[in-house]
């Protein structure tokens, strides 16, 4: 390949990349245009439906003023429904829920900031169990890693006692011979963390209480 053909090749490459960029920008603007009228259309359709004498046309709003449900149980009007008729990652991502450093939903923060207030059970007759405010110190085995303070309160907010006791954890402090290796293999905390709860790679979310003996 001589010098002039190299320059020609470069020119062609630059031209192509510019074309692709232009196409990308155009497609974004076309998408944006396409979305706006659709939203207007939805709003128009919603205003047409309202009939004060029809109980099924009632729209319930949540505390933020967003549609949370309608009088007709067959037609949910929640944000999840609008975003794609169900719970899916994209709908959740767009719901402005607090996220951790991995971009996963921070369910504990959601509770602490009182962003959700779920019913304790679908069965109204079932007795409500308030969260158990009991922290358990789990000492890290090595000399350096910070100890774990296990918060029962956040766990019992979401879970019943029987979810963990006595099958996964014996309900007696110090009687569970856990290790990080076993946890990483999916036992103990690893039954949930890394699967349905925040991942094990977020070390410092559990290892919060520094050891006094640790040098640094």
């Amino acid at each position: 390949m001589n010098a002039s053909s190299k320059v020609d090749f470069l020119k062609v490459a630059v031209l192509f990349s510019l074309l692709i960029m232009f196409g990308f920008v155009m497609s974004i603007s076309v998408d944006a245009e396409a979305q706006q009228p659709a939203k207007k259309g939805d709003a128009a359709a919603a205003t047409k439906k309202v009939d004060p004498t029809d109980p099924t046309s009632v729209i319930y709003l949540d505390t933020a003023g967003k549609a949370a449900g309608v009088g007709d149980p067959n037609k949910p009007a929640g944000e999840a429904y609008k975003a794609g008729r169900g719970w899916h990652p994209a709908a959740l991502a767009g719901a402005n829920l607090p996220k951790d450093k991995y971009g996963l939903i921070d369910w504990a923060k959601l509770v602490r900031e009182k962003l959700v207030k779920p019913r304790h059970s679908l069965d109204p007759a079932e007795e409500e169990m308030p969260p158990l405010p009991m922290d358990v110190l789990i000492e890290a085995k090595g000399d350096f890693v910070a100890n774990v303070i296990f918060p029962h309160e956040m766990h019992t907010y979401w879970l019943k006692c029987e979810v963990c006791h006595p099958k996964i954890f014996v309900p007696s402090a110090g009687q569970n011979k856990m290790s990080m290796v076993e946890i990483a293999q999916g036992q103990w905390c690893g039954r949930c963390h890394g699967k349905v709860a925040f991942p094990l790679s977020d070390c410092k979310k559990c290892h919060t209480s520094p050891k006094k003996t640790a040098t640094k």
């Binding site: 085995k141 090595g142 000399d143 350096f144 290796v181 990483a184 640094k216």
Partner: protein, 111 residues
């Protein structure tokens, strides 16, 4: 032409090879703590890291380039230093810190 290229390559590669001659480094200065935690020394595959990283990505900012000069422990790693630095084993670029057996030897498999 080819021979000259090869010579230039050798000229630059020779010192790099001599510096990076360590293949696997055993890290066992915290052996007491490791034994309490049920793990053995770390066999750090230096050569394997060299294949993917440039020397300057780790040395001298994250690790001093001398054997036994670095005081590494799991807490430091978890705090985003040493092995757990931002672009290393605390990121999605490679395996995370909790996979004990990927670095530590003699890991008790539990039960």
């Amino acid at each position: 032409m080819l021979r000259r290229r090869l010579m230039v390559l050798m000229f630059f590669a020779a010192p790099a090879l001599s510096y990076g001659a360590v293949d696997v480094i055993t890290l066992d200065s915290k052996i007491e703590s490791m034994q309490k935690a049920g793990v053995g020394p770390v066999k750090f595959p230096h050569a394997k890291h060299q294949l993917k990283l440039k020397c300057g990505e780790c040395h001298p900012k994250i690790f001093k380039d001398a054997l036994k000069a670095n005081d590494i422990n799991m807490k430091k790693n978890m705090d985003g230093q040493a092995c757990g630095s931002a672009n290393c084993h605390n990121s999605d670029k490679t395996f995370p810190l909790f996979e004990c057996a990927k670095c530590h030897t003699n890991v008790k498999a539990g039960k």
